[in-house]
Amino acid sequence: MSFAIELKSITKRFGSFVANEDVNLAVERGKIHAIIGENGAGKTTLMNVLFGLLQPDEGEIWIDGEKKVLPNPAAAIAAGIGMVHQHFKLVPSLTVAENVFLGMEIRKGGLIDHAAQIRKTAELSKQFGLQVDPTERVGLLSVGIEQRIEILKVLARGARTIILDEPTAVLTPQESRELFQTLRGFVAQGMTVIFISHHLEEVMEVSDTVSVLRHGKNVASRPTAELSKSDLVQLMVGRLVSFDRLPRGPIAGKTVLEVEDLWCRDERQLQALKGVSFQVRAGEIVGIAGVAGNGQTELAEVLSGLRPSSHGRIKLAGRDITGRSAREIRAAGVGHVPGDRLVRGVDRNASIALNLLMGRQDQSPWSRHGIIDRTYLQQQTKALIERFDIRARSPESTAKSLSGGNIQKVVLAREFTGGADCLLIDQPTRGVDIGAQESIHAEIMRQRAAGKAILVISVQLDELIALADRILVMFGGTIMGEIAGDRVDEEEIGMLMAGVVPDPHSQTVDTV
């Protein structure tokens, strides 16, 4: 059997940390090979080694049966390997064709031949079924199309093996499905696809072979057909994890958070929210679903007082808090777990203790007469580190020395213990590994049981299904529809996420 790619005993260390340990990976030609694993399992490191971005400390790389040394990405590209990164690197003011041929411009008489570039882009787009308009400016296009352009870039460079790093993280379910079709088209034309993901369902759906990485080691490489979803989870985490709907009691209380016809603008002065209304009751978890960038973040910011609303009303337990400052809103009883924890969640350079203190440094018993009670702070920090299972060397470790999941736990520990009746949680488990996800979810459920009104914003549907009593789907700044958490139809949510109102068999859909 001929392999497109063979990695033999690859080991990559960063200082004392071993990112990849003795990894063997054989990728068959003409197959879609998925690589899954938790965050920090070494998937991206391994692919960076294969793409020449990192040099392995030990081991060999064989491409098409030949041993290769790849000192840089250019060498990998020359060997027929292309990589579509998680973060797109497109230039917004240039056209699609200019972006595709950037760095390898077609020139005539010393000048860039735009006509030829447009023609070639159209040809590639047709040959591989990646629909784009070569003359359009990239800045105006959606994420899904941007990804197509990134793939076209790779194809234009003559790649026969394409590595995609978490390609579906930014796509709607429909866009993901289109992508999968494209990928199947690639392998039908004899190309090879390596697909990094931690979405099990996708892996099951699209791949021929799966390799599971755990703690830098390849723990299994098997045909996908031989594995079930729970097998994969077990291989990834090393134990069983449930992502099913979490058990819960009935919703207890009365309305805590009331949002009425809320409007606001984003940084570019475009309408980010267009008349959003909903309520959250005590002891209820309301989920906000949607593809990132449809107003969810702005919603959380407006509710927490970080962004002005242009119209509408926010009431907390009947009290109008519209237009109040973030500080007043916190004091009124709203806890906010921001979507970008490194920017708004923590001070990266401050210790865990100080991060846990922030926002209540002027309140008794944390401080007295304007002086922080160090002893109390230390006690509380220790208690919170234990309760929230924050893995850190000491309470004085800086936030940036922690892993993403542990930073998130610091934020949760602060926000959940501030006595807030209403919790806004934006992306509770973004970039957090499955083990930590489980404990974060359990903590959110405990807050629900304690009678908190909880708004969870997430781009991960399975998370909302696990947590939410009701799911509101946002698209283009409006709420497209509402779905009960125990009667979720992924197809329906997917349609709503893409801005399509499905057949009115669900009675609560309202349009604006």
């Binding site: 840089n72 990405p73 690197k89 230039v91 020139r107 000048l111 860039i112 603008r265 242009s310 237009g323």
Partner: protein
């Protein structure tokens, strides 16, 4: 009406072209750094040393062309120091730019004192300017011919550079890379385009044109060097660059506006209006134009002010009539 006729005629157009050229040259230079994502406030200083060393070179060699070369070399040296500090050592662009401007101002004054023993200005000493270029066959074109002929060569260069730069940014690989480095450095990096090399190139191209602009000031626009003779043109160019985003055509429009008001102010002087007042005209016009343009293209500040005022009002209305809200929530 008579006053208007005395003000607006072919000679005013000619004067406008003359006054536009130096600022156009330096602003086009700045377009390289602007496009490459460097905020280059050091244009003024590069222009000044260009003007000074063009004069020194001309006096020393007797040829204004060698003078131009000397001016360009001096501006390039300053541009190289700028690039070294900003690109390689990642120093703050504004601080470095300002420091080099101050250095240029002080250096020219003290060198003038050291070499010529005077302060103020240098003329004579065998200083010759660049010869004006008489275009052939323009007599047949009447007033139009009169309008386009007889400038010093760098004036023509400045205006020819506008379409050249448009072509450069759209069709030349280097121009494309400069834009990419300025707009999305990580994309350039991922494609193996060296950001450092491109930014150095842009800085030096900028120095080249700033040097030419300076040489034009002292050998074309006038035939002398005076203390601080760039008189804020470099800063004006920076202002034009900010609103034009480095686009050559918009730079041309901005520079023409400045050149026109400059020419007009010279005209107004002949009408016996206070010269101090009149000399402020071009800067005033430029400021008003900039404000008007940024008001239109970047209304954020204004919009935010309006939005917050609206919010304050709507909050007030909430507190005035809370009853309707409670009524509404009671079905």
């Amino acid at each position: 009406m008579e006053v208007l006729e005395r003000l607006l005629n072919v000679t005013l157009v000619i004067a406008t072209i003359r006054t536009t050229a130096p600022i156009l040259l330096v602003a086009l230079g700045g377009s390289f750094t602007t496009k490459a994502g460097i905020f280059n406030i050091g244009l003024e200083g590069q222009m000044l040393v260009g003007a000074f060393f063009a004069v020194i070179g001309t006096i020393a060699s007797g040829s204004p062309w060698i003078g131009v070369l000397c001016g360009v070399a001096a501006a390039l040296t300053l541009a190289l120091i700028f690039a070294l500090l900003v690109v390689t050592f990642k120093a703050n662009e504004v601080v470095v730019g300002l420091a080099l401007n101050i250095l240029a101002g002080g250096m020219t004054v003290s060198l003038m004192k050291a070499i010529f023993g005077t302060r103020g200005s240098i003329f004579g000493h065998g200083l010759v300017g660049l010869p004006p270029l008489k275009l052939p066959n323009v007599k047949d074109l009447g007033w139009f011919g009169q309008m386009i002929s007889g400038y010093t060569p760098l004036v023509y260069l400045a205006f020819i550079l506008v379409p050249v730069l448009i072509l450069f940014y759209n069709r030349a690989r280097l121009g494309l890379y400069i834009r990419v480095v300025g707009e999305k450095p990580e994309a350039a990096e991922a494609l193996g385009i060296s950001i450092t090399r491109i930014r150095y190139t842009a800085s030096l191209l900028c120095g080249l044109l700033a040097g030419l602009a300076g040489a034009h000031l002292s050998l074309g626009y006038t035939t002398m060097f005076t203390e601080n003779m760039s008189s804020g043109r470099g800063f004006m160019a920076v202002a034009i660059l900010i609103f034009s985003n480095g686009d050559p055509l918009k730079i041309l429009l901005g520079c023409l506006l400045f050149g026109f008001s400059d020419a007009l102010s010279l005209r107004l002087q002949t009408l016996g209006i206070s010269s101090y007042l009149v000399l402020a005209v071009p800067y005033l016009v430029a400021l008003i134009a900039l404000f008007a343009l940024s008001y239109r293209s970047r209304p954020r500040v204004i919009q935010e002010t309006l939005a917050s005022m609206g919010r304050a009002l709507s909050v007030k209305s909430n507190t005035i009539k809370p009853r309707t809200a409670t009524d509404a929530s009671k079905p």
